[in-house]
Symmetry: D2
Subunit: 259 residues, 4 copies
């Protein structure tokens, strides 16, 4: 268990981290931030740097995205979770991020992990799409060995033969990682599903299986999102979603931790 | 939605199917049957014929196992779910089974599926460990095309690269199958996990994700079980387990259906 | 090493088993049989009973297909390899088959394996699409324990996340199975690839890796084949194909075994 | 097709890249370099920076390793293939490397790929252990879009359910990648196998399937290797190995390209 901007995670405390996939504009980010805060979210997520399979796809707003996240944090008071891809951006990201996210593609980017370890910033480390739990724990060890113990593990779906969904969410990873380590384990239902109608059921399942939190994508207008629109929840559905997730988390003995 | 021995499954009705992996003796079966009935189970499971990877492993009590299942049914009134492996045993199994189980290894045993289709008996069809959802639905079609519409689909874990557990339970299959077909979908958390401490969390997750039921293994003395002891729940823990599962099912809008 | 209709397999002897996916007609089968024999094939394959994912797909000519295979055998003298799916057809199949094929879907159909074991007929046992090598060897054990030692193992592609081909041919299985057992190991490049242009390169790789044989699909007119047309080699290309395979097998120390 | 230090790769030219997993000492590297050159290798491989799953494992000799590689290159004239992990080391690596290797874990490290693209150095890009061929080609695109067209793709085994070997070598990737792109495709049999006795058969298979080259690990004394000893070929076996690989490559229409 540790604390991020006044919110606890682990040890019975559940984190609901919500926000857009990508920071697209001031309006989009602030509208989302206010709504997810009102709906019960405990932290705000949003990508300024986006890893993309194709070099020709939108790569994020970069510095401008970080500036907008700082503004959202100032207004709502919510801690910020945002991704770092290039070790040379660490100082800029550290100015606004309360939690640095390391994406699945970078789970074994040891240079990045070691530098974040040295920075002392809390990390949300996503499992690689074909990484064993042992490899995930070993990747976390690259951060821990620098004396930084604020690592949150994140299950976000693994690659299997099934083509009916983008990835296969592995919820067995949650209790297994909790047994093997003391680190909090959260679940990302949005990227696994790739489609909105699965995000609700998977979030309830994640909370019921005992996850220490969920990181979920929400957008004021998913049809016009720059990336991953089909998997982002609608703002107007968020409050009811959060309340169901809270009930499922209670069955597993967890309570939302708001500041 | 359809009815099996007075219990409904599908359409908001949740089936909790519990019992030993294998029928081992009269005492073991009857003690388990009474306890799971008292704990809230809606049907009784138990294997008389057991498919085993090795030809040298215990293959089940066979006819004697069926006789004991008939006795447990007479005493408790619970419908019986038991596996059929050899098409030549269908008449003997049909005398006691309310639901014929087809195991993962036989999901594409078309001879077996067609004969069960013709028998008119309800079927619980387990997903093969590397079967796509489309292949599972096509296998169900071998039963349906004989005019038998009482097919229950069962997710029981798929094979992935992860070696921390026997199989990876794919809970995304539940809402996806429910969207693609009208058939009820149940989850087997015991075989996926292979270890007792995961069965509880996975069962809550299965109920929360919206499954129409769970088929779970319970044993009065798992340490002495002939097979799969480590994954069977203890009888004394069953009532509390069932009550948590019921709470999780309620969040997904389902109620237990007892006669 | 053992002998099938005068052809040896194992111990330095390479079997080239060729023929159509499905027996479609007298002309199609006899034309193919003559051409593959002239091209260097050592046995003739052809399906009379076809396991199909959908119950509405063509299921094979059945008894009529067996009769045509008997005719092709009488004319060319080549041993026949054909699939058995339903244990109740074993006597009919045994009348014409020199080798009974058990398909990937039936690898763990223990009823079928035990009966074939008792029949004493040579078996070509395909690896299930998610079966470990240990499970394949255990399935073979169901035949061997009946006193029938003429089992040929067959690698035909496993299911992975890659969608660029139907299955992923696992050629590491060949030397590994040969190290773990004394049984000959053949490779089916046709089903893994699902496309003709890959069948040649994969066949050379299979021979070079040390396989004891190849089972390959050939059709006089693949565009009009009832099933799997795109993966079947053209008759006119077979002789050149066989001669390249023979060169690759020689590097691995194997020679074609013709009667 | 392009040229690296006078050796061509692609378009009928086969590269045999050999050397130790890790540069351990002056003696180890020079002895290996001389022997593989005499045996027929066309380029020398050796790791100065090693990505390791555990942060507590040996991480390579670093700068000292690069210096030794420069010495081996000066003595033997062979082009050097060595791995780059940290973008901040690119200048030091560029001083000695003729080909920069990007490991499987860094296949989607877009920062690294873009910088190597800008450097103009030839790249050997390994497929991630769960990367689709499309993702591999997209990763190559991060290099190509900087105007650097000297990209060699490398199949090194994917992660599957099979536990009998470390990875499953996917040789279907070779002809498929060659059809989808104009880039040369080489195979690494050492990492897939993880054991020496498989490296020979897999190398023959790779050459027979039409690969444009092989990158293989060789050590003068594998029992004392710092890492991956069990998979490294023995120096004394290399010449015979290379001559068998050459025969297999010839069947696929390729010739070794020595300066």
């Amino acid at each position: 268990m540790f604390e991020i901007g006044g919110r606890r995670i682990g040890g019975g405390n559940f984190a609901l981290i919500a926000g857009p996939c990508t920071v697209e504009s001031r309006e989009q980010l602030l509208e989302t931030a206010r709504a997810v805060k009102d709906g019960g979210a405990t932290m705000l997520r949003g990508g300024a740097y986006k890893p993309r399979t194709s070099p020709y796809a939108f790569q994020g707003l970069g510095q401008e995205g970080l500036r907008l996240l700082a503004e959202a944090k100032a207004e709502t008071g919510m801690p910020i979770v945002t991704e770092l891809m290039d070790v040379r951006d660490i100082e800029a990201v550290a100015e606004v991020a309360d939690v640095v996210q390391v994406g699945a593609r970078n789970m074994q980017n040891y240079t990045l992990l070691s530098e974040i370890g040295r920075s002392g910033l809390p990390v949300l480390l996503k499992r690689g799409l074909a990484a064993t739990l042992e490899e995930l724990l070993m990747a976390a060890e690259y951060v821990l060995k620098e004396g930084n113990e604020q690592v949150i593990l994140c299950e976000r779906g693994i690659r299997t033969f099934e083509t009916a969904y983008r990835f296969t969410l592995d919820l067995m990873a949650v209790p297994t990682l909790q047994r093997l380590s003391h680190l909090p384990v959260v679940v990302d239902p949005s990227h696994a599903a790739g489609r909105r109608d699965l995000v609700g059921p998977l979030s309830l399942a994640a909370a019921a299986v005992g996850a220490d939190g969920i990181i979920v994508e929400v957008h004021p207008n998913p049809e016009e999102a720059i990336c991953d629109g089909p998997q982002q929840l609608r703002l107007e559905d968020f409050a009811e979603y959060a309340s169901l997730v809270e009930r499922a988390a209670q069955i597993a003995g967890k309570a939302f931790s708001n500041a």
